[in-house]
């Protein structure tokens, strides 16, 4: 069964537990009370090692920090992007062994070990991602299981890595002459890494590349049509997750001062996933909650179960397994989002601060001169097996026109749209857009030339706000990459993008819905949001697939006014629509399709007068 992206509010999927649901209310600032709580927690963490806390708890906190660093990667990978890996422990192992080998065998600086670990992790993750991420989602976890086992057996059988005994005598870290041999000193480094990691991931998710990443979980077709290379972002997310794990491994090696294969096996890989699911697989702070709960509970179980059962062994995995299944069944979102929900009841979440007033407008695209041929479709054909969905259709759209594509259900109108926008590859024929032959191009490449579209079944990211959804349409008008977003160097451009998104939403009459979650909108406003998203890319040609479906009469009239105004501004529009009053009153030319073939093309008056069209819609008298 296809988990289609379209999420009409009553679609089946929306009620099912989804591991991948982008974090809700991500960018909205917390109210004061929550901020005070957060600051207090941070302060407590900062002074914890200075207090007379038993060494045991410092050690626990160190492990929680290192685990959380790995789980952060899984939040990004599994919770947001809808991919997963059981091999994160193996990446931890790469980081740990790289620094252990270099610093204990060859006496090199551990900081060099960190670099080496990151480099080798990057290479391995790149190869793995490149091989598996093009395929459907479940091959990645299977490949990571295989690779986690292989790496573990390799390490355990290599003489140079000390086989099952591992490498002993890893030196302590030195930081500007200060030794970090003590657990309390290490605590600061570990938690600095973990919190910086969390901050970077949060920054990333609230940015231009972040919106593209949040589309990976179930809106890839739409993201591609907005110009996003979804494959590239899948690789990026996989790399980030691997590198976070590698850093955790580096810390681990210098905390333990010895490494051996067992903590980097498949079992630990599964346990990292357990932490992510328990804490809240799509929330950044859930990574910390999950790591904490896991570490404390596992320790208790390791004490308790062997005493109960009267023999030694890893009995805690029974409980972990059962808890994992129960969590997915009864609380698929995890502990942190549940806590958040409780907090929101007490202190309602305020809406996003509008800090983009007065941002410089994004540069626009020159529109072609009115009357020039903009889109030429020649003998276009699409076959699904034996079914000819589009049968050698030809027509030309001139710049500045609104053209209607009408026909009875099943005439091939939406398929024609998909062919023109590159969502589906054509079987034969030629498409020329803005003077360039675009036949066979992927949709993201055609989008660069200035073509944008909406979908017959609304495609959006339901857990993102309306404003953010629309800002995704402006993806191609920004340049900030992943690294810039993590370091928050993208704010000026981000303000420009959000300002543009708000401008388009105002134009379409949706200014009151900016901060609403897109999934909570009714069908009509969702369609309007899609139009605003398409407009946000500053297109020369707009493809609208049934824009008026689900709108009330007044809303339809308002939409027609907006479309006419866009035509005034030099925009060209091709639209599929069933509402004949809407089409006839708006369009300059109409193409009629029936059973995949073009019936006639002409002005609205010509089409209305045509007996062939009447026959197609109403049947013929015999």
């Amino acid at each position: 069964m296809k988990t289609s992206v379209s999420s009409s509010p009553d679609s089946d999927q929306s009620r099912q537990p989804q591991v991948s649901s982008p974090p809700a209310a991500l960018a909205t600032p917390r109210p004061i009370a929550a901020r005070v709580l957060g600051a207090a927690a941070l302060l407590l963490m900062a002074v914890l090692p200075l207090l007379p806390v038993p060494e045991f708890w410092i050690t626990q906190a160190n492990y929680i920090g290192m685990f959380a660093l790995v789980v952060l990667g899984l939040v990004l990978l599994t919770g947001v992007a809808g991919l997963t890996s059981f091999g994160q422990a193996a990446f931890v192992g790469l980081g740990a062994y790289a620094t252990a080998l270099l610093s204990s065998r060859y006496g090199l600086s551990p900081w060099l070990g960190l670099g080496a670990g990151l480099l080798i992790t990057l290479l391995v993750a790149l190869v793995l991602g490149w091989i598996t991420l093009r395929m459907s989602g479940h091959y990645l976890p299977l490949a990571t299981i295989a690779w986690a086992l292989s790496l573990n057996y390799t390490i355990a059988n290599l003489d140079v890595l000390g086989k099952y005994d591992g490498i002993l005598g890893v030196p302590a870290l030195q930081f500007f002459g200060i030794s970090l041999a003590d657990g309390r000193a290490m605590y600061y480094l570990i938690w600095l890494c973990a919190l910086l990691g969390a901050l970077a991931v949060r920054h990333l998710l609230d940015s231009r590349p972040g919106r593209a990443i949040r589309a990976l979980g179930g809106a890839t077709v739409m993201a591609e049509a907005m110009g996003v290379s979804t494959f590239r972002y899948k690789v990026v997310v996989f790399l980030i997750a691997a590198l976070l794990a590698s850093v955790s491994g580096w810390l681990f090696a210098h905390v333990q001062r010895t490494v051996n294969p067992s903590p980097f096996g498949l079992r630990m890989g599964i346990e990292y996933l357990f932490m992510a699911v328990v804490g809240g697989v799509s929330s950044v702070w859930g990574a910390f909650v999950g790591a904490g709960v896991f570490k404390v509970i596992e320790d208790q179980l390791k004490e308790l179960l062997p005493r109960l059962l009267g023999s030694n062994g890893n009995f805690e995995i029974i409980v972990l397994g059962v808890v994992l299944v129960l969590m997915l069944k009864y609380a698929p979102k995890g502990l942190w989002p549940a806590a958040q929900l409780l907090m929101a009841r007490r202190w309602p979440v305020s809406s996003r601060t509008r800090d983009w007033q007065g941002a410089a407008p994004l540069p626009g695209r020159p529109h072609p001169a009115r009357g020039e041929p903009l889109l030429r479709v020649d003998q276009l054909r699409k076959q699904f097996g034996g079914l000819v969905a589009v049968n050698d259709v030809s027509f030309t759209l001139h710049a500045g026109d609104i053209m209607g594509l009408i026909g009875p259900n099943g005439a091939g109108k939406s398929t024609t749209f998909n062919l023109i926008s590159g969502v589906l590859p054509a079987t034969a024929g030629r498409i020329e857009f803005a003077g360039t032959a675009v036949t066979g191009w992927p949709s993201r490449r055609i989008a660069r030339l200035g073509l944008s579209r909406t979908f017959q079944h609304v495609k959006m990211i339901p857990d993102m706000t309306v404003l953010e959804n629309v800002a995704l349409g402006g993806y191609l008008r920004g340049r900030s990459g992943t690294l810039k977003a993590m370091l928050r160097l993208d704010r000026q451009e981000e303000r420009q993008l959000l300002a543009e998104a708000e401008r388009q939403l105002r134009r379409i009459g949706m200014q009151d819905h900016l901060d609403e979650l897109a999934g909570n909108l009714a069908l009509g406003p969702q369609r309007l949001m899609e139009i605003a998203r398409a407009l946000c890319s500053d297109p020369t040609l707009l493809l609208l697939d049934e824009p008026a479906a689900g709108l009330r009469l007044k809303e339809k009239q308002a939409l027609a006014t907006v479309l006419r105004q866009l035509r005034q501004e030099g925009l060209s529009i091709l639209l599929v629509e069933h509402d004949m009053d809407f089409v006839m009153g708006l369009t300059d030319r109409i193409v009629v399709m029936e059973f995949g073939t073009r019936l006639i093309e002409g002005t609205p008056a010509e089409v209305q007068a045509s007996p062939a069209v009447r026959a197609a819609y109403l049947g013929t008298e015999h």
């Binding site: 099912q16 991948s20 093009r134 395929m135 690779w147 890893n314 009995f315 397994g321």
Partner: protein, 345 residues
């Protein structure tokens, strides 16, 4: 390496490959019908082998109690669901009792028969009878209510079930491994090659089971219903095929195949409580060879895995597992190159 060694390795590889083929078929079946990537398949291998080992010693294996517990738990959950749905109690009660009856009867019969030291064939049949119903019960307990969730969620559930079953395996059987007596001590020799009776049984049983599965899917109504569910769950449901019972049936088959594989393999190697995982994963490598979708492809992949394993154990025995599991990467590369466009499922 000379021809003799190559022949011996080949025979060895084919014997193991036959086992992997069985497991790969079960994995493809379960994935096609329920979209579950069934990581715990291997646990049934260990459960089968070690239950038989327990019966050999005249113990009552703990798996019998486990079966009874699963059946009771499933019945209780069914009852709660029926009460919540306000279905007519008489009818619902009868349906629940009907479903709980077979595992309960088998469990109680096993309690009675286990200490009797039945002949080997009797013990084998008893083992299969005890382990097979666990498949359907596990489906009911862990998967059924999540049946419409994404492949990813189901995969994580599978990992959880694998954890739980492995840990329980340790509780049931302890950390020591067991090896069962050979089913048939005869052997055929052709020159330096010796074909043991057990290898013949393994290859024969795998062949017979593959044939039986083919007949089941092609000729029987239940088999056709499973295939329909695999192609289109909603469509099958509209045609009156319950996707829940299709899921239970496919899991039951998977448990049967797993237990049978365990019985077949246990005279040739020592089985520990956690040995099944690696054996099952090799079935997975084979199933991935076939894109988790083709039965003949999975069988061919399994024979290849068996051969790769036996030859690499000759050349680099320490890296045997590494070679087997790394072989999945070129296969994935080839598949992604051949068939790159996959929308998310």
């Amino acid at each position: 390496m000379d021809g003799t060694i190559a022949g011996i390795l080949m025979l060895d590889g084919l014997t193991n490959g036959a086992i992997y083929a069985l497991l790969a078929l079960a994995l493809v079946l379960v994935f096609a019908v329920t979209r579950v990537i069934f990581i715990p398949q291997g646990e049934f291998v260990a459960f089968g082998a070690l239950t038989l080992a327990g019966l050999q010693l005249g113990h009552t294996p703990m798996t019998v109690y486990f079966l009874l517990a699963l059946a009771v738990l499933a019945a209780v959950l069914d009852l709660v669901a029926a009460v919540r749905a306000r279905s007519p109690m008489a009818r619902a009660g009868r349906a629940i009792a009907l479903r709980a009856m077979p595992p309960l009867v088998i469990g109680l019969a096993a309690l009675w028969m286990a200490p009797m030291k039945l002949p080997l064939l009797g013990q084998v049949l008893l083992t299969l009878a005890v382990v097979t119903p666990m498949g359907g019960l596990l489906y009911r307990l862990a998967y059924q209510s999540l049946a419409d969730a994404s492949v990813l969620v189901l995969l994580i559930v599978s990992v959880g079930v694998h954890f739980a079953l492995t840990g329980l395996g340790l509780v049931f059987f302890g950390a020591e491994g067991s090896r069962n007596p050979s089913f048939w001590d005869a052997s055929l020799s052709a020159g330096p090659l010796i074909l043991s009776g057990q290898a013949m049984i393994i290859i024969g049983a795998s062949g017979a089971l593959i044939l039986a599965l083919w007949l089941f899917f092609e000729k029987s109504l239940h088999g056709k219903a499973l295939r329909a569910t695999a192609v289109n769950r909603l469509g099958a449901r509209l045609m009156g095929i319950s996707s829940a019972s299709a899921g239970r049936l496919s899991f039951t088959l998977a448990a049967f195949i797993g237990a049978l594989s365990g019985l077949l393999i246990s005279p040739t190697t020592t089985i520990f409580y956690d040995s099944g995982f690696l054996i099952g994963l090799k079935g997975f490598v084979a199933a991935v060879f076939a894109g988790l979708s083709s039965y003949p492809g999975a069988a061919v992949g399994a024979l290849m895995v068996g051969l790769i394993e036996s030859f690499s154990s000759f050349w680099a025995s320490a890296f045997k597992e590494v070679i087997v599991f790394t072989s999945i990467l070129p296969v994935l590369l080839w598949r992604s190159w051949r068939d790159p466009h996959h929308e998310e499922h």
